[in-house]
């Protein structure tokens, strides 16, 4: 499915690579000659706080993605997916890493982290398509956790929602990477891409299947 516009909301935690991936999507759009705005609010994000970025591909003057406006939610962490959920549109797609990171404030109060499966169920109530996968495990499988952003980029590419050829995104990510790690990035990208394209193909075939749970 090719759309002329796409609002991508990226949600995660400082240090996971959210901003880096948002920038890569923007760079890819510029290379593809598509208008784009990339928004990021940070400052305290490196200190373990929530961090989000928005990418609006297609005609846009601002980078705001407001309530029910995100065509794709790319969530690096399940609790952050839940936080961003009200902004997912009625026909949106959620690509969520199921590996939880317990907030330190939560630890402090010793209240339990919500059950990941129930978070995913909540996502399904809003979004028709949810791909839930332990992307952190895929990144570690590819080489190391630092590649999480590339796995998430692969998931996005496999979703088919980007209104430009995903090769632009792949080369934007390779452009950010050091040459020694290019192979590992390629592996991480492919792992993510295969998971989401297979899951969505299965869903199209009639079953809404989440992988990796």
């Amino acid at each position: 499915m090719t759309m002329s516009r796409c609002n991508v909301l990226l949600a995660g935690i400082g240090g996971q690579g959210v901003l880096t991936l948002a920038r890569a999507i923007g760079t890819a759009a510029v290379a593809a000659g598509v208008p784009v705005r990339v928004g990021q609010i940070y400052g305290l994000s490196q200190r373990g706080g929530s961090v989000e970025a928005t990418v609006r591909v297609g005609v846009a003057q601002t980078a705001f993605v407001s309530a029910a406006e995100a065509d794709v939610l790319l969530a690096f962490e399940p609790l952050e997916a839940a936080r961003a959920l009200p902004r997912v549109s009625g026909d949106g797609i959620v690509l969520v890493n199921t590996r939880p990171i317990v907030p330190s404030g939560q630890t402090l109060r010793q209240s339990p982290y919500p059950d990941v499966a129930s978070i995913v169920e909540r996502l399904r109530l809003v979004a028709p398509h949810v791909v839930a996968v332990d992307a952190s495990a895929l990144a570690i499988h590819a080489a190391r956790l630092r590649l999480l952003g590339t796995v998430m980029a692969g998931l996005l590419a496999g979703s088919g929602r980007l209104p430009f050829d995903s090769e632009y995104l792949r080369s934007a990510i390779e452009g950010q990477a050091r040459s020694q790690t290019a192979d590992a990035h390629r592996v991480a990208w492919t792992l993510g891409l295969e998971v989401s394209s297979r899951a969505l193909a299965d869903a199209a075939a009639g079953s809404r299947i989440a992988t990796g749970m």
Binding site: V30, Q61, T62, S66, P86
Partner: protein, 1150 residues
């Protein structure tokens, strides 16, 4: 980050491409940097502050390639002056900061328009509506008119580039600096930006022109007039700039300024097809294009003003309408259509457009968001200054007031560190702490980071020193400006990829005149806490420089530079993990002694502080502290010491009285085996454990209502007879009453207390104190019947028929009386002497080396004896009496003839001879033989024999064929339960185990009560109150290798003057003062594990910690192996993980 992390063979930065027409995705801030590059900037500087930092970070990166100087200045005022200097020198300059910094630079800024710029000068002051990363949101637009400085407010990133380039032209032509005021949504939105050509720079040179550059009043008056002309030029230039534009049409209109203009643009693009609207928007703030605005307003019936923060434009539009007689209705904040605070987002603007102008969609209801657990930012895992805050709070206590800094350390205000009472501005941590201390006398600690120290901390500190304030000033030096992205400060040891010498904070502090300066590594908790301790005890200004590099900066910048020279150690610690066998595991739990106390922060702080002060914390340790192992009652000594250190005396009381039925007496007469094995003894002196207990008991006695009311189990109708009301019988009676039994307590004497009442003199244990203990036991419902002697007027068979079971605790009975040859002075036993007030003589010999002997000699002195001599077999060092009692006796004039024995009594007294011991320390007389020296004679009218007690001369049968008590044979009594061969008779105290110390007798009573309860109700009920295990005589491991740098001798309670003591029976030893008790309690090393500890979560709050399935865990991905937590973990449960994946622990089961 600025200039530390450049890689070798780095590709040229995209912003230096001289390729007009090239399109690049740039943040608004990067677009500003590119605009400066295209304008041929010749100098750039600033002070980092979100959301402005990428302007300077980017310019810093490209400056070497483009050949212009760049600096992060000390502060914004200096930065603006540096930029102005460049302008006066003919170099175009740009200076960037956040909105707060512009206020700091207000002084030079306000005179700049008078002097005027030479080359173009642009000041970037990023605003932060909605306070994303700032303590306030301020509308800098108000400054422009006041300062006479043109101001631009770009609407989107691409315009930020154009506005910057234009600002340089404007500044140069109008001879005014120009302020560029982007807001967060422009700074941090990236968009495709088209490059223009890069202008060539001329060589800079400062040309003298005093008339033009010196605003002394005579010149400044002329300059003031010139400013008006300069602003006229500025407005003229703006008219042709394209920075304001109008589109659409119709009588309804929108006028928008800055970032919200882009929202309006997008919304009207979507909606104007339906109904027409005029959209006018501006990127210029001052001077306003008044003619253009009047022209816009003239065609409109209604105009909606869309601007963030204050109604700045709205007010000016209304003034223009009034001035020009226009009837346009102006809607905005003043009319209540927009809020006064915070940034605008598209849904808000869309809703207001629909409701006021009737264009676009009607407001749509939004789904209510479900509450999601917040994920607040926190100091990084491994931030060394979490340890600084932790140490400061540990030392200064919960009442000290902390005043904190802007930056990373602001995060310290959050729980659990709570390091911040008030927050104001850079450097204000020092000034607020100084001011509050000066005005209130309260204890304050001020904190600033290293960057802040240089930025504005120095004058605040100098002010404190000059005023001789009583304040502790802490510089948390992580050697970089970390919060905003690792920009260099003068304390940063890296510049442009090379290691350079850093400015010395301590040298500056010394030069300021501070007398007390210490430099510590906060990752060394012990040293840091000692340094804070010295600062706490000092007066005047104490400066602590806590220095440890930011680990993120270290890893990303310093390590790559250093690693060219130094190889990584092969066998290093990569993270820490929790040893679950120790974490929250009470050492006494194995014996069922775990307390039921809830944890308090003060308690956790006390136990964590004790461990933090240690060195060698990884040394071998037992789960149970040595003192507890040796305590016959297995009391949690470290627990009550920690409660006392924390000032929580009621909690200490609970812990003591839960395990000890006669606390008021024991805290006076205990033989203190705990102190013999105290680990602290290896450092200076053992902790005064019994004095601490005494402090708590005397504190409790002074409270209006007794702070601890025990709650016995409900009565279940079973009745027990306890024979003997000495320590063992009283303990058994108390424990049984707590277990719900009805207890009848019998004793031969008329009053309960046994040896405590009749064998311990008043000056050691006042009877009023003993009565307190007994009253509490009687209060549980125990009924006492005196004058009842077993075998005399009390028969076991009768007791058994009237009770469900019997506890025999009738004591060891009379003293052994030695047989002597010859006639001599009067002979009596120690206990009989103590119990009979009338016995006295001018010269007294006491035979024996135990407590009864010492008590007898001291009592003899009080009854008027001129000379009292103790003759004992043992050496002075091996006498069984309590050492401090022996010392006290000597102080009172009692003579001690150790290693001697009495050979015979003589009419004058006794002959004695020196003895040798075959087995040193033996208490068996058979091991002592005559040394062969000449005998000598001692004068005495009274000889007191105190060499131990016999078994009660009482023999009784239980119908089992065995006779008890006839011989020193305890084999028929189970020492764990007191069970005898009769299923309903239990024995306790000396009767069960031979003469022993008071605490051992009490423990025996508690064991008999448990044994009895087990027999009558079963283990399930009995085990709710497990008795102490029998104390080990083996020496505990004692944690060899542990030291503490804080030498602090034992605190001693007050004592009566020796000379006045012998005049009466007043209690000799007093109580520790509260201050001394708390200091003494802080000496405790907390050698055992605590099951109530959550110190890592409750006090430290490192984000690497989390709780899963009720267990504390460490996330190895977040842990950077700083090891601070392992230094304070009271249980030693945090253990290293090495590179090879092997964990090393000192207990089994790793």
């Amino acid at each position: 980050m600025a200039r530390g992390a450049r890689r070798e063979n780095e590709t040229p930065h995209p912003l230096v491409r001289d390729e007009p027409g090239h399109v690049e995705l740039l943040l608004g801030n990067e677009a500003i940097a590119r605009g400066a590059i295209e304008a041929g900037v010749g100098f750039a500087c600033g002070y980092p502050g979100t959301p402005s930092s990428e302007v300077t970070d980017t310019l810093g990166r490209v400056a070497p390639a483009l050949g212009f100087p760049f600096e992060y200045s000390i502060n914004e005022k200096v930065a603006i002056e540096m930029a102005f200097a460049a302008s006066l020198s003919g170099a175009r300059s740009i200076v960037a900061m956040k909105h707060l910094g512009l206020m700091y630079a207000g002084d030079p800024l306000s005179t700049m328009p008078y002097v005027g710029t030479v080359a173009g000068m642009v000041i970037v002051s990023a605003g932060d509506p909605s306070l994303h990363t700032s303590p306030n949101e301020q509308d800098q637009r108000h400054l422009a008119e006041m300062l006479h400085i043109p101001m631009l407010d770009p609407r989107h990133p691409a315009e930020a580039l154009e506005a910057t380039r234009f600002a340089f032209e404007l500044s140069e032509r109008a001879h005014l600096p120009v302020i560029l005021r982007p807001t967060t949504r422009v700074c941090h939105t990236a968009a495709p930006v088209t490059f223009g050509p890069i202008r060539r720079r001329a060589a800079p040179r400062f040309e003298r022109s005093p008339q033009r550059l010196l605003p002394i009043p005579s010149n400044a008056r002329r300059m003031r007039v010139e400013i008006t002309e300069r602003l006229r030029i500025a407005r003229q230039m703006m008219d042709g700039s394209g920075l304001y534009l109008r589109k659409g049409g119709g009588t309804r209109g929108i006028i928008a300024m800055g970032a919200p203009a882009a929202i309006c643009d997008e919304l009207t693009d979507r909606f104007t097809d339906e109904r027409r609207v005029t959209l006018a928007s501006l990127a210029t703030v001052f001077p306003l294009p008044e003619d253009w605005l009047v022209e816009t307003l003239r065609g409109l019936e209604t105009v909606l003003v869309v601007e963030e923060l204050s109604p700045w434009l709205e007010d000016r539009l209304r003034a223009l309408c009034s001035l020009h007689g226009l009837s346009t209705q102006v809607l905005g904040k003043r009319t209540g259509h927009f809020p006064m605070a915070f940034e605008y987002e598209p849904p808000l603007v869309r809703d207001v457009l629909a409701t006021t102008l009737g264009i676009g969609d009607a407001p749509s209801p939004t789904r209510a968001a479900e509450p999601i657990a917040p994920r607040a930012p926190t100091l990084c895992a491994a931030c060394p200054h979490r340890a600084t805050f932790f140490a400061a709070r540990s030392v200064f206590g919960p009442d000290a007031l902390f005043f904190n800094d802007i930056g990373c350390y602001t995060l310290g205000v959050n729980p659990p560190l709570n390091a911040g009472e008030a927050l104001l501005a850079m450097g204000a941590g020092f000034s607020l702490a100084t001011g509050v201390a000066a005005i209130t006398g309260q204890r304050t600690v001020g904190f600033v980071g290293d960057s802040t120290f240089f930025h504005s901390g120095i004058p605040a500190l100098l002010n404190a020193i000059k005023g001789n304030a009583n304040v502790v000033a802490v510089v948390m030096d992580n050697q970089v400006t970390a919060m905003t992205g690792f920009q260099e400060s003068p304390g940063t040891a890296v510049d442009d990829g090379r290691l350079v010498p850093a400015a010395s904070i301590e040298a500056i502090v010394t030069a300021l005149g501070a007398k007390h300066i210490e430099i510590v590594d906060p990752n060394d908790l012990s040293a840091t806490m000692c340094a804070f301790g010295r600062a706490r005890d000092a007066t005047g200004v104490s400066v602590i420089v806590a220095r440890q590099v930011c680990p993120v900066f270290d890893t990303s910048v310093l390590v790559p530079i250093r690693s060219r020279k130094t190889p990584r150690p092969a066998d290093r610690i990569v993270s820490y993990r929790i040893d679950q066998q120790r974490c929250r595991h009470c050492g006494r739990e194995g014996c069922g002694q775990r307390c039921s106390q809830g944890v308090t922060l003060e308690y956790e702080r006390a136990i964590a502080r004790a461990r933090s002060l240690e060195r060698g914390h990884e040394a071998q340790r037992d789960p149970v502290a040595p003192c507890t192992q040796r305590c016959p009652l297995y009391l949690c000594i470290q627990g009550y010491a920690a409660h006392i250190a924390a000032g929580r005396y009621a909690d200490a009381l609970e812990l003591i009285t839960d395990g000890l039925p006669l606390p008021d007496s024991v805290c006076r007469v205990c033989h203190r085996p705990c102190e013999d094995v105290c680990v602290r003894a290896g450092i200076d002196e053992p902790v005064a454990i019994n004095d601490l207990k005494r402090f708590v008991m005397d504190w409790a006695a002074q409270q209006e209502t007794y702070p601890r009311q025990p709650t016995p189990e409900a009565a279940h109708g079973r009745t027990i007879a306890v024979v003997g009301a000495g320590p063992a019988g009283l303990a058994a009676a108390q424990s049984l009453a707590m277990r719900g039994y009805a207890v009848n307590l019998f004793d031969a004497a008329e009053k309960p207390g046994g040896l405590l009442r009749f064998g311990i003199p008043e000056y050691r244990l006042p009877s009023a104190v003993l009565d307190r203990d007994i009253a509490r036991i009687m209060h549980l419902g125990v009924r006492f019947r005196g004058g009842q002697r077993l075998g005399d007027n009390l028969e076991l068979a009768d007791l058994l028929s009237a009770h469900d079971a019997v506890v025999l605790a009738a004591g060891a009975g009379d003293d052994v009386l030695l047989e002597f040859d010859g006639d001599g002075p009067m002979l009596t036993s120690g206990l009989r002497f103590l119990a009979t007030d009338a016995l006295a003589a001018p010269n007294v010999i006491v035979i024996g080396g135990g407590n009864t002997a010492v008590d007898a000699a001291r009592t003899a002195r009080r009854r008027g004896a001129e000379r009292a001599v103790i003759v004992c077999l043992e050496d002075r060092d091996t006498m069984p009496a309590i050492a401090s009692e022996i010392e006290a006796a000597q102080e009172e004039g009692v003579e001690i003839l150790s290693a001697h024995r009495a050979v015979r009594l003589t009419p004058a007294g006794a002959d004695v001879e020196r003895v040798l011991c075959r087995r040193p320390g033996s208490r068996d007389p058979a091991d002592y033989t005559s040394a062969g020296d000449a005998e000598s004679g001692l004068t005495a009218q009274l000889v007191i024999v105190a060499v131990g007690q016999s078994r009660q001369p009482l023999a009784f049968g239980l119908g089992t064929g065995r006779t008890y008590g006839a011989a020193p044979d305890f084999s028929g009594i189970d020492p764990e339960t007191g069970a005898t061969e009769h299923p309903r008779v239990f024995a306790a105290g000396d009767l069960a185990s031979g003469a022993s110390y008071v605490t051992e007798a009490i423990a025996s009573g508690l064991r008999a009560a448990w044994g009895l309860d087990t027999a009558l109700r079963g283990r399930g009920a009995a085990d709710r109150r497990l008795p102490p295990p029998r104390a080990s005589r083996e020496t505990p491991c004692g944690r060899s290798g542990v030291t503490r740098p804080d030498r602090d001798g034992r605190h001693r309670p007050p004592e009566l003057e020796p000379r006045s003591r012998v005049n009466g029976f007043e209690e000799v030893t007093g109580t520790l003062s509260e201050a001394d008790a708390r200091r003494e309690a802080m000496r405790c090393m907390i050698c055992g594990h605590c099951g109530n500890c959550n110190a890592c979560l409750d006090l430290f709050g490192c984000p690497a910690f989390f709780v899963a399935d009720g267990r504390i865990e460490i996330d190895s991905q977040l842990c950077t192996a700083c090891g601070v937590c392992a230094q304070f973990c009271p249980n030693g449960a945090i253990v290293p993980v090495y590179d090879r994946g092997l964990a090393v622990t000192s207990t089994a089961g790793a």
